[in-house]
């Protein structure tokens, strides 16, 4: 009995490390690969941020950020995206404990908040274009529409992805491949919120300062 305990202790101490244990489970490999993709996507955004930061004063006599941006609308957009990131997290918890109704509920809330964000952003863009602040007007506006529009396109892609995932949960149920995709979607959605934090800080809060 003593010997058995001793062997048990040794086994516990000498748990093989990840590098000696053979291939990692597919969930870890897939999520890590998607993590690398997200970081490369963020590197792409950093180039757009750099272009915006360089060109923010190049208004060519056209409207400046201080004249164009409406901080109330930006604050509502921020609240929508932050809340949708939170409900996306709650959806991940529901997926992990395989509660189908809760998954659908939080997916719908996430989708509605994301769509509200997108609708506000499209309204803001349409309003700017109606006032003559088109992407062709100045280098500042080209950089603005590229940066914010690229984030908006990502959010659109995320909404389509979320709808597809809910269809997959309905048809295929919580099988391993669907759970991996849901994990990747959650990563994507949270990463978009991190990009939005920098966006509202750099574009809407720093950009309006004289």
């Amino acid at each position: 009995m003593n010997i058995a305990v001793a062997i048990d202790d040794v086994r516990h101490e000498a748990l093989p490390s990840a590098s000696e244990a053979g291939p990692a489970p597919k969930r870890i490999v897939v999520a890590y690969g998607f993590w690398i993709f997200l970081l490369s996507d963020i590197v792409m955004f950093s180039a757009l941020f750099a272009a915006y930061a360089v060109l923010v004063r190049a208004t060519a006599g056209g409207p400046t950020g201080a004249q164009l941006f409406n901080q109330v609308s930006v604050a509502i957009e921020t609240a929508c995206l932050l809340a949708s990131s939170y409900t996306c997290g709650l959806m991940s918890l529901a997926v992990n404990s395989r509660r189908r109704a809760a998954t659908y509920f939080f997916a719908v809330v996430t989708f509605v908040l994301g769509a509200a964000f997108l609708a506000l952003e499209i309204r803001e863009f349409a309003d700017m274009i109606a006032r003559g602040a088109t992407p062709q007007r100045s280098a500042f506006l080209s950089a603005f529409f590229t940066l914010v529009g690229c984030h908006g396109l990502h959010v659109t892609a995320g909404l389509v992805w979320l709808a597809v995932m809910m269809a997959q949960v309905a048809v295929k149920g919580f099988r391993a491949s669907v759970e991996r995709r849901l994990l990747c979607f959650a990563l994507f959605w949270h990463a978009l919120d991190i990009i939005w934090v920098w966006l509202f800080t750099v574009v809407y809060l720093m950009g309006v300062r004289p």
Binding site: P16, Y32, A50, Q71, L82, N96
Partner: protein
């Protein structure tokens, strides 16, 4: 459970979600993250609009608040930790942050230098702007 100490997938929490307590503590983690993010966001908007603070320091303050909020999102929403099972995730993130820093700071630095050294005189600049 597996015998090996595998790395943890990014986005996966250390808390086992199978049990009911796991879900509850998971909700608590996300809620703490949401509260902290809301506080930091509200502070950012207040800092940008107040006249109480020293104006030249405000961009730096906003950057610090954004970095803090990014940290909150990474820890509470993406469950990135300093644990040994997260080393690969953190290393990839650190490399990404390095590239982002080089691209943004490098561009700003180079372009500020170019503007200082090669900006045409005002009358030529006006000529440029008319086209």
């Amino acid at each position: 459970m597996t015998d090996a100490r595998y790395d943890r997938a990014p986005g996966d929490s250390s808390i086992s979600a199978e049990a009911e307590e796991g879900t509850l503590s998971g909700v608590r983690v996300y809620t703490i993250g949401l509260v902290l993010a809301v506080i930091l966001t509200a502070t950012s908007f207040w800092v940008a609009n107040t006249s109480l603070l020293w104006a030249p320091g405000i961009p730096l303050g906003l950057a610090v608040l954004a970095i803090a909020q990014m940290g909150v999102h990474l820890v509470f929403f993406l469950h990135i930790t300093t644990g040994p099972d997260n080393t690969n995730n953190v290393l990839a993130l650190a490399f990404g942050v390095l590239i982002v820093f080089l691209v943004v700071v490098g561009s700003l630095w180079i372009m500020a230098n170019l503007n200082d050294n090669m900006m045409p005189p005002p009358e030529l600049m006006n000529l440029h702007m008319q086209h």
